[in-house]
Assembly symmetry: D2
Homo-oligomer: 319 residues x 4
């Protein structure tokens, strides 16, 4: 007899990711002129960016910093009541909490808490909509289509020293369910893919191999078609962007992908999942063995070495 | 202040559609050899079909009949408890109920009820998985990829004499939310698109203009890419299938589409939504005016006349 | 026994088309900002435009005028000697000649002549290359890829009162061969597609139905993929461009197409031929009957009425 | 002043490639059931295969053998007179000739000659058309479209110990022109791409690094779209075919590619060139330096080691 494994439904979707840049102007130029995000607004410290069909004001908050990496990860909840329920659960869980913080240009107050590896999460209900200053020809789109690949934010990938521990955190605090995972021969979980809704994943966590802490692996936007990614590859090439790997198809989740590094070194992905969704309420996590992983990506591409080692911020070498 | 409009979450997803054919052998050949569904099994009355990434045993039940049209529409619930909650709500609603029916080759017992226009719905929890007789190379796919366009069932479209009345039914019985709709100048709703999850729609209802009752407009499978639909158009052409309209892009929902008629006359669609999902928990229905609709489809294609008049079964002319 | 029908090889390829605009600034903005051509240079009367992989300085010469339509059509020859041979043939043919004209910013001197319907053609050898001011990342591309659909000029379509007469002109003066044609029931040729090389066509001529003379039907640029055209359709929609018909697939030549009108009213196409080429040296023209044409385009789209009537310049109504 | 470098035009196009298989039945099953060629006919020794839009009876002749590799390469000439001219040139050149050979099921008599590395070429005029037993819905296609990627033969790649010497052979005997080439730091040519028409290349030659002689690197069919190749990759994966490298984009020629090995070990490619053609009559060969080549493929993929070493037949190790 199958068991319902649906998420709690209290958390609606991944809302935004804040990333740090120590080359803010270059990073901003990359995200707006090359990668294809829209600039909703700027304040003293940050640029508020979104894709053309993101309904919220900001899905990528780019913040000036002395380093790189992830600032925080925001999930929007399903209702004010759902937010209350989540906070009660989180506070009862024993995970580190920061409590309420004021909002910013993009959303209202948010409740912050922290995973055991130092990544800061927030939940919020009150949000601001994408500016209506460039309305689309079709009223069911959030903003005017400008021909660029990113349609909406898709997922974020974080590094953790112990993915099992991270998994407990996600299941407890966000009510996420695991859709796919890597089971290493040494008994550890090599990677884990989570979702709070019907998307195949909105957050992935892979094992930290670089002695970093609280590090960021990448943020990803979804494209409508695989062709959008092939075309983007040519544009990245023309713009002199570092293409790390792809385009190719992931074995895990079957996503068509392309990874590049923005000027400050943070990894950014474009991805297309086709029509794949997780609709089954009793979905059983797909477990990949280490042997299976060694076959490489779906069509045989070997995973490039930097994909296992490069995270942001860079790890300071011990002296 | 926005209002949460999330669905009830009690209903997980559209599970299957039963359609009738008075040319069963030709219809079956179309669905398996041209359209590209897999045959899970057959019994005396029906063929149980699925797409290559449908996780359930059957998403299209093709049943021998003296006529055409829709047999019933099945939705899978999120849990056994959710099913109990739904039944209580339906029974309290006053809509016509048929009660429990035995399952078939594809799923366990189901609870049946009826909309005011004669379409039969069922909710069920116990289901059978897609046969494992042709496993895919990648273990996260339900069945072996055979190169055909339909990846999974997407939605069904029904005709109703009063779409407002149908809307009440869907909101009450399934906890569906409306994502887009057409508001006619005469005050009536011309069409309404519903979802129980993050898909942009899993069921659409358009106004019956042919004096039929309980009729069927079409069933749709999702493809991974728009290119799959262009390629399918060439295959339909080679196979002598009646291509009604498309490929083109809907203004409503932005879906790339192609409509054909299977040999018995039931309309079948292939569609691609790109990366579009309804993630906002406070999504406001998009309302299209009659004037806006008269602009045609997204890129200006005029909606073909038969699209407004052809439903199944055909309406018997009064003598 | 098949007969070689190869073109003369004296003429290498369609080089450029000059079109007139009575809304020059708007037309120029359309071609550079929406359609996606690069501006090589401007002089007092004209803008010299090219696609990102056109090797010549100009493939579309946009000229200020009091009206619309086509100025002249330029073909580049295979060698200086080939040019001499062609001129001898043309002068012996009795068709109207204009003799040598000076070049412009885009090419050296050219020899001009005229078809019986008033369209002016020119042949030339000396040409200027695309400016090297925005080199591509890959040295085998003519210019930097900017993400826009037009890769290179593809073909031009002209209107003629008698397509048979026009065909004689093309075969005699350019050594073109006919790849496909429409044979009307009344014995007339409804349309004829010509090529001087391995492209399926570089010039098409269709029957004038609007009592015009020397009119222009459209000019077309080739895209790398069909997806480029679907994406362009969304951009035309956003830009408020009049989309006349498409995207769809032509039955004749099998080309995937999209037709729009630039601001002054000249029709412009984007097209993708896939991998189709005319390689057979004894290719027999494909002849389409009137009955076959009535089936519409490849996937059943009815040809829109304006496609038969709209040419540029508009025909002045008799008083 | 540019110099015309057009091909001689005596040779119309690459016609067919004969490859040997020591696993004939498995190879035939691969080409017909997985790769997607049509079987025109079989005789005692060979299967005559073609793609759905190849106009000739056979473009791939698969021949039973005790080994693998290439049997011969056939080019069709532009006319019977062109064939006479070519033979005169070849016979005057001093290259080894085999003289006339009888035709086979696919074409009439052919004139055979040999390059200095043991590859056998033939030129022919009389040819047989693709069987008309499965006519396409559209009369301008050679055969019925069956949904498979290969549309027409594209090119063949051979290995030679000295590419410079091979280049002389191609220019002399076929009148081919060089479109791109690799200039190694040691003064040798690492690879050379040739064409006799407007295709970007119909034959490539790369340096033999495995001490073989007269070896075969791969044969390639063209697809209409890049998406056809992505889809094919999934089908190769399902069929257990060895995917060597790709899908990715070549820096040289800009072709989107996918390489697999058929069961006997011969390398087979699917490729898409987009709208790229060589139209310039004075095209200057693009010369890639060794440094430029070390940047890998267009989007940074490192060329896989076997691509440099694997040819057919395998080289017998010295004892």
């Amino acid at each position: 007899m199958s068991t319902p494994t649906n998420p709690s439904f209290d958390v609606a979707h991944l809302g935004h990711v804040e990333i740090y840049s120590d080359k803010f102007d270059e990073s901003l130029d990359f995200f707006t002129s090359v990668y294809g995000l829209k600039l909703s607004a700027m304040d003293e410290h940050s640029a508020y960016l979104r894709a053309w069909d993101d309904y919220e004001f900001c899905t990528l908050k780019l913040t000036k910093s002395s380093t790189t990496g992830v600032g925080h990860i925001g999930y929007r909840v399903a209702s004010p009541e759902a937010l209350e329920r989540r906070i009660a659960t989180i506070e009862a869980s024993g995970y580190k909490t920061h409590g309420w913080v004021d909002g910013d240009l993009s959303h209202g107050r948010a409740y912050r808490f922290e995973d055991p590896f130092g990544h800061i999460f927030e939940l919020y209900w009150d949000t601001n909509r994408a500016p209506n200053d460039d309305p689309a020809a079709l009223k069911n789109m959030a903003s005017r289509f400008t021909g660029v690949p990113p349609r909406r934010i898709d997922h974020v990938n974080l590094l953790a020293e112990d993915v099992s521990v991270f998994r407990d955190f996600m299941e407890t605090c966000l009510g996420s369910r695991v859709t796919e995972m890597i089971q290493l021969d040494n008994g550890r979980i090599g990677g884990c893919w989570f979702t709070v809704n019907n998307k195949t994943y909105d957050l992935a966590c892979t094992e930290e191999h670089g002695r970093g802490h609280g590090r960021f692996h990448h943020v990803t936007y979804a494209t409508d078609q695989r062709e959008d990614i092939l075309r983007a590859a040519d544009l990245f090439l023309e713009a002199g962007v570092h293409i790390e790997t792809g385009p190719h198809k992931h074995a895990i989740q079957g996503t068509f992908f392309l990874y590049v590094w923005e000027p400050a070194g943070n990894r950014v992905e474009l991805a297309n999942a086709g029509a794949r969704l997780i609709l089954a309420p009793d979905w059983e996590p797909i477990v990949w063995s280490e042997t299976e992983r060694k076959r490489g990506q779906a069509w045989g591409l070997n995973t490039i070495e930097t994909f296992h080692t490069h995270g942001t911020p860079p790890v300071k070498e011990a002296t």
